[in-house]
Subunit: 136 residues, 4 copies
């Protein structure tokens, strides 16, 4: 199986990611991109994607990026700045690994909302990802 397909299989094994409709569209060499369609169920009261959806996508992208260099991983912590309402049809989270060691990696991610084909930066995140000592 090619790596991207394998990454999608992992995502498909997470019921919450299936509920949100997330897809991996890039995966490898310290980078990962996750996307989802902003359907009505994912919005807050003002018609934007809920912050929780944005942060879910950022968090997962940070972790998937680290997974390209560390294998089985989990998120230790992350920080996210919401910069603009997530308005549009689609969210794209692009993450990259800044640094990785024996036990941990640091990743950064930018989340874009796509409206009528135009991408706007709506959030930025930074987090720590740990290699799992063993499969849980």
């Amino acid at each position: 199986m090619d790596p991207l397909e394998e990454a999608q299989k992992v995502l498909a094994a997470q019921p919450f990611s299936v509920l949100l409709g997330a897809e991996v569209t890039e995966w490898g060499e310290g980078r990962a991109t996750l996307e989802l369609a902003i359907r009505d169920e994912l919005k807050q009261q003002y018609g934007f994607a809920h912050g929780g959806v944005v942060s879910y996508l950022a968090d997962n992208a940070l972790t998937y990026a680290a997974g390209t260099v560390m294998g089985h991983v989990l998120t230790v912590e992350m920080k996210i700045n919401y910069m603009r309402p997530a308005v549009g049809e689609r969210l794209i989270a692009r993450a990259e690994v800044l640094s990785s060691g024996r036990t941990q990696a640091v990743s950064q991610c930018r989340v874009y909302a796509v409206k009528e084909g135009v991408e706007k930066l709506c959030a930025a995140a930074q987090g720590t990802i740990a290699r799992m000592a063993r499969e849980v």
Copy 2:
């Protein structure tokens, strides 16, 4: 309407909060508690609540706590540490305002997973909440 009921009405107006099944169980005087049942759809591949669910609840609790002192608010940024897998039947996020000014507040939140009636701390968050300049 009593304040808790009003807070629940706001939550019920967020389709994403409805999708996740979140409830406000405390709201007032700088404090807010949000809860949800960990049903299968909210899990990741190892059977725990997905980090995105934990962070959704923490983020919203931070914001609701700030709302008790500032009215209409939105999350500027937040940071979350995942400390233990969120295993059990229920998540409870308890947040409090540390400080609030004319335009912003800082809140902290602890998220507990409840398994067979026993609460375990599984995450801690801290964030900045802004008063909305006007209704969006």
Copy 3:
């Protein structure tokens, strides 16, 4: 040597902590308190303690608190909210461990500025501290 004395010895071995004049005034059982006098050299252009001084004290307090339960440690990451100008004669950073495991701990810290004997909360921090694999 009693534990507090030992903690002070570690601080005294850090030239930067000596330069800033930091002292440990509490150390044990998941808690640590660090203090310093706000002398002119530690200020920014408006006469407050510089944010870098506040964040130094918060960071070190987070780490010292974790050291009470994990021995030799180092800061993996931290987040700090500055809530009020650090005005006065003295800064006090009180930290506590929220959770600790085999390899990491999570601590929180509040920093107070003391002016004419009155403490005011001026910052709050949260961070991840790692046990050092071996002495460096």
Copy 4:
């Protein structure tokens, strides 16, 4: 006065920045670079630059970058990941603004330690900077 000179003048007005020996070496169009020499006084017990020095430089660089687009600013909050011991002769913090609005900006920063002419990434930071309502 050219903008870089003006930025250096602001830094020279901060006693703490003078104590640490920080210099602005780039300033304009959403970017700022701050540097300092790692002299013995700025180290911790293992001979590296103290985390507090790294975080001071990161914090100030985040804020100076925001200052290029917003004028008088102050740091609301920041998060820093320490990725590698800051070993060498010099620290360089390069910051850029990701997004700025009427009242706030979000900046990111990478801190490099320079040893024998070779730069190594040792920390990454992300923070929120506010426009000052008025001169303090």
